[in-house]
């Protein structure tokens, strides 16, 4: 791909596949208008590169290309979706026919939804996108990461350093005549360390990235910090004690613990679950669902962040949606379908994993705004509890509202002081009431380093989270120490 193509998805798909916006509109117009409420064609070309260094040897070097088109037609609540990985006129016509078949079943309103026509943002135009950076430079960085992680401590026995980089070119045409393209760089450096001591083994990982150039990892010595953090995590866990079991006060550190928001309220505020009435938050707009200290936003417009997008995968420019303001539920995250059915505005949250999937309401970067409290003072305010600063994954049951997220670095708080590190433990809570127990919010809002991937209904998308230090009075900690 040359530089011209990078900034012009229209030209890219026209040159490579002979598919132009005009043709896409004709396809939608000719086959779909008048019988559907909404329709679009989504073209995607994705190049993905994976480099993995293990034992200071390049264990995996791979490059994957995928391309395809997804055609969608919607009538009332029905969606027809067809996709093909051969982008040709014949296949697109066939996909349009299949997508339409569902819409033809019953009468529709006969009016086409008007997609947002706001200007796309310009959040990640890069002089040198990471996918084009020379392999030698990338492999050299991975070798230095390996060396740095090993140098951190003699107990480090294994280092796995990986760099995943992709570039996705998309072009979307809606039946209402809106055409928009986007070129999306994404990269992530990850370090995993296995440490051993006296027959005990532990694992630590750290990483980060975003829609950033390769040099991002060299700036501010990020790569050294990632290596040192991964090693520190593993070494620390070697001396971790059993985690406590039961309900206690929990202090969450800033940054990645924002996964709490993603699980506790984020999914429950996605438009589809609320339109269907299956979310524990359904029908609760305007109600108090959190302490008044809590304001949570989903913001897809932060430059270079992993969860950011110039436009969502339906062509709607992303936005900043206030989900909870001073404790009151103020908004849902919407794609076009659910916005139309709920008579709300699309919020730029219609996302899909790839052309092979229809869009759904998804989060972008979800975080809590900073409060007033001093983080040190928040810890001192807790007589006994848990201080959790790094988490692995989480999951939520949308309907019951029960959510979990698993701490991988956590400490006991005893008499207002952070003491012994504890083994990993899952924290469990109830979405609609967990945030009502937030009693302190720090002034230290931090966004995560750029490693999050969210799964929903079999589709994975990159996301971000963020949190200031907060105190939650009463969360169940799933340790083994009764």
């Amino acid at each position: 791909m040359n530089d011209l193509v990078r900034t012009q998805p229209e030209r890219f798909f026209a040159d490579r596949f002979n598919v132009t916006p005009g043709l896409m509109e004709r396809l939608l117009g000719g086959s779909l208008v008048g019988r559907v409420d909404d329709a679009d064609i989504y073209l995607e070309y994705r190049v993905n590169e994976e480099l993995v260094l293990e034992e200071n040897v390049v264990k995996k070097a791979s490059r994957h290309v995928s391309q395809g088109a997804g055609v969608r037609a919607q009538a009332d609540t029905r969606t027809g979706y067809a996709h093909t990985d051969e982008i040709s006129l014949g296949n697109l016509e066939e996909a349009a026919r299949q997508a339409r078949a569902i819409a033809d079943r019953a009468g529709t309103s006969g009016t086409l939804a008007v997609a947002g026509r706001g200007r796309p943002h310009d959040l990640y135009t890069l002089v040198e996108p990471p996918i084009v950076t020379a392999l030698e430079r990338k492999l050299d960085l991975l070798r230095r990461v390996d060396t740095a992680a090993r140098a951190a401590d003699p107990r480090v026995k294994q280092v796995i350093a990986s760099l995943s980089t992709e570039e996705v070119v998309v072009l979307l045409a809606t039946a209402s005549g809106w055409t928009v393209g986007d070129v999306r760089p994404l990269t992530r450096l990850n370090v995993t360390v296995i440490a051993e001591d006296n027959g005990k083994r532990e694992i630590g990982s750290w990483g980060g990235g975003g829609r950033v150039p390769f040099d991002f990892f060299l700036e501010e010595e990020r790569w050294t910090r990632f290596a040192a953090e991964a090693a520190r995590q593993a070494i620390l866990k070697l001396r971790a004690v059993e985690a406590p079991a039961g309900t206690m006060t929990v202090v969450l550190g800033p940054g990645w613990p924002g996964i709490l928001l993603h699980e506790a309220i984020g999914h429950g505020l996605e438009g589809d679950f609320n339109r269907k009435g299956v979310s524990a938050f359904a029908g609760r707009l305007g109600q108090k669902v959190a302490s008044e200290l809590v304001t949570v936003v989903d913001d897809g417009t932060i430059p270079n962040r992993r969860g950011s997008l110039n436009v969502d995968d339906e062509g709607t420019p992303t936005g900043r949606t206030v989900l909870i303001e001073n404790g009151v539920l103020t908004g849902y995250m919407q794609d076009r379908l659910n916005a139309r059915l709920m008579k709300m505005a699309p919020t730029g949250n219609g996302r899909r994993e790839s052309y092979a999937h229809p869009p759904m309401p998804r989060m972008t970067n979800t975080f809590m705004l900073a409060g007033q409290d001093d983080p040190e003072e928040i810890i001192r305010s807790v007589p006994n509890g848990l201080y959790a600063v790094v988490f692995g994954g989480g999951q939520v049951d949308i309907t019951s509202g029960k959510f979990v997220f698993s701490a991988s670095e956590a400490y006991l708080i005893e008499d207002g002081r952070v003491t012994a590190p504890v083994k990993g433990a899952t924290l469990i809570g109830n979405g609609p009431d967990a945030l009502t127990r937030v009693s302190r919010v720090g002034h230290d809002l931090k966004l995560d380093e750029g490693v999050g991937t969210c799964g929903k209904d079999g589709q994975s998308v990159p996301v971000g989270v963020g949190l200031p230090t907060i105190r939650i009075d009463g969360m169940t900690v799933g340790g083994t120490q009764v």
Partner: protein
């Protein structure tokens, strides 16, 4: 879908080109698939999806250095680019003495017919498929007046053809079909909702459970969760139902897989031949079961699948290996190589913890005060240490009887201790998915709640 012979020809051409570009060896996988799914919600069609996909993945060796590439674009130009990129990548990667293809004379010489493709599977019209989903959902909603809502029901089918070839001249393929029907209904009582689900999946459509039966099971599962409560933090016997027990078996297989072991990232490291579970525990992986979802005639490197006893009477009898991890560990492949988008890894086929003799009812009756787990959420399993802590929901057992539903609790322990503490194994094993287990009773675990 294109026929197997022309696909094999395409793949062989690609491997030849790799040779011409300087690769000393290469292998490749080509998958063609067609997928259909239809979901219905509250009786109305929700989403219908059609798709055709193809993907060629290639692994090339330049001596002992290797690289992988894949593409969904099978045009001549694209394939040439993929070959060139993979061979270029291989040149920048370092030599690895353990890299390489399996010995050619180890590869399968004929492909057994495991009846993985349903000859009659494609006869239904989309309307009839939608109707199956509609029936499953309707049965769930009709079960009880408290069945008030639904996330929908889905029917899906998939047909796939796999071709594997190596630069030694090996080229073989097979075709599969699979079918599924699932429903996720919502029950509510006193304004509080609970959702659960049930599903059936099979290689042959006629083997799917009846839609009404799937719907009724899903409804029963949702209804029994209504009015759930938290319990006090305690240490008690825990019974895992067959679905949640299967997740424990998956964790054991993950820790026994070659890549986890050579990275020393497994709680089963240095335990080959040693006791890792109660003597009643036997875990088998069998890729040769006709019509089973996990079966395959050969693995991702062309090696014949078989029946592997992973854990025999509590002893770890083997690891699960592909050629690379086997060489690395000084062992031989157990024919568990799997191809995915990014290269070669290890996966199980039909993985089963073999049944015991107790009925699930007898296991429950043997517990005075304990927890019967029907759902687990979250990712709280540390594969390196075996430390285990997950969110759970289920039913409390009092005096040998299932009583009230429980939610918002965790179950925690360590997998090695849990495996050793298996005190009862149900006789209720059903091969309904790729990894299955019967009901399991674990003597003691910590349940965290209030």
């Amino acid at each position: 879908m294109s026929d197997g012979a022309s696909r094999a020809g395409l793949l062989v051409d690609v491997l030849r080109r790799a040779g011409a570009r300087g690769a000393t060896a290469a292998d490749g996988f080509l998958i063609d698939e067609q997928h259909f799914s239809a979901s219905v919600r509250l009786g109305q069609v929700d989403t219908v999806k059609h798709s055709r996909e193809q993907r060629l993945s290639l692994r090339v060796f330049a001596g002992r250095a290797s690289a992988a590439a894949s593409t969904s674009d099978l045009s001549r130009e694209s394939l040439e680019r993929v070959v060139d990129e993979a061979t270029a990548l291989a040149r920048v990667t370092a030599e690895d003495p353990h890299a390489g293809l399996p010995d050619p004379d180890q590869l399968v010489t004929s492909v057994p017919d495991l009846e993985l493709e349903d000859p009659d599977g494609n006869e239904l019209e989309p309307e009839a498929k939608i109707e199956l989903a509609r029936q499953a959902e309707a049965a769930a909603l009709e079960t009880d007046p408290r069945m008030t809502n639904s996330e929908g029901a889905e029917y899906w089918d998939r047909r796939a053809r796999y071709v594997y070839a190596t630069s030694h001249g090996f080229a073989q393929g097979y075709a599969t079909s699979s079918f599924g029907l699932s429903v996720s209904p919502v029950a509510s009582d006193n304004g509080v909702m609970q959702r659960d689900y049930w599903y059936s999946a099979a290689r042959h459509r006629s083997a799917l459970e009846a839609p009404a039966a799937i719907g009724r099971t899903a409804a029963r599962r949702a209804l029994r969760r209504l009015n759930a409560r938290k319990v006090k933090t305690t240490e008690v016997p825990v019974i895992f139902d067959p679905d949640t027990a299967a997740s424990l078996v998956r964790s054991v297989a993950g820790a026994a897989s070659g890549p986890s072991l050579y990275r020393r990232a497994s709680f089963l490291l240095d335990r080959l031949g040693k006791r890792i579970a109660a003597p009643a525990v036997t875990i088998v992986d069998d890729g040769t079961i006709p019509r089973a979802l996990g079966s395959r005639p050969f693995d991702g490197e062309g090696l014949a699948t078989g029946r592997t006893v992973l854990v025999g009477e509590g002893n770890l009898q083997t690891y699960l290996l592909d050629s690379y991890s086997a060489r690395k560990l000084g062992l031989t492949s157990t024919h568990h190589a799997a191809r995915d988008g990014s290269g070669v890894g290890v996966s199980t086929t039909n993985l089963m913890l073999l049944p015991g003799t107790s009925t699930p009812e007898a296991l429950i009756a043997s517990v005075k005060n304990g927890f019967y787990v029907t759902e687990l959420i979250g990712f709280g399993v540390n594969g390196v240490t075996g430390d285990y802590s997950r969110g759970a929901a289920g039913l409390w057992i009092e005096n040998g009887q299932l009583t009230y539903p429980v939610e918002e609790v965790t179950v925690a322990g360590n997998l090695l201790e849990m495996l050793a503490a298996i005190e009862g194994i149900g006789n209720d094993l059903v091969l309904r998915d790729r990894t299955v287990a019967p009901t399991l009773l674990i003597g003691r675990m910590v349940v965290a709640g209030n």
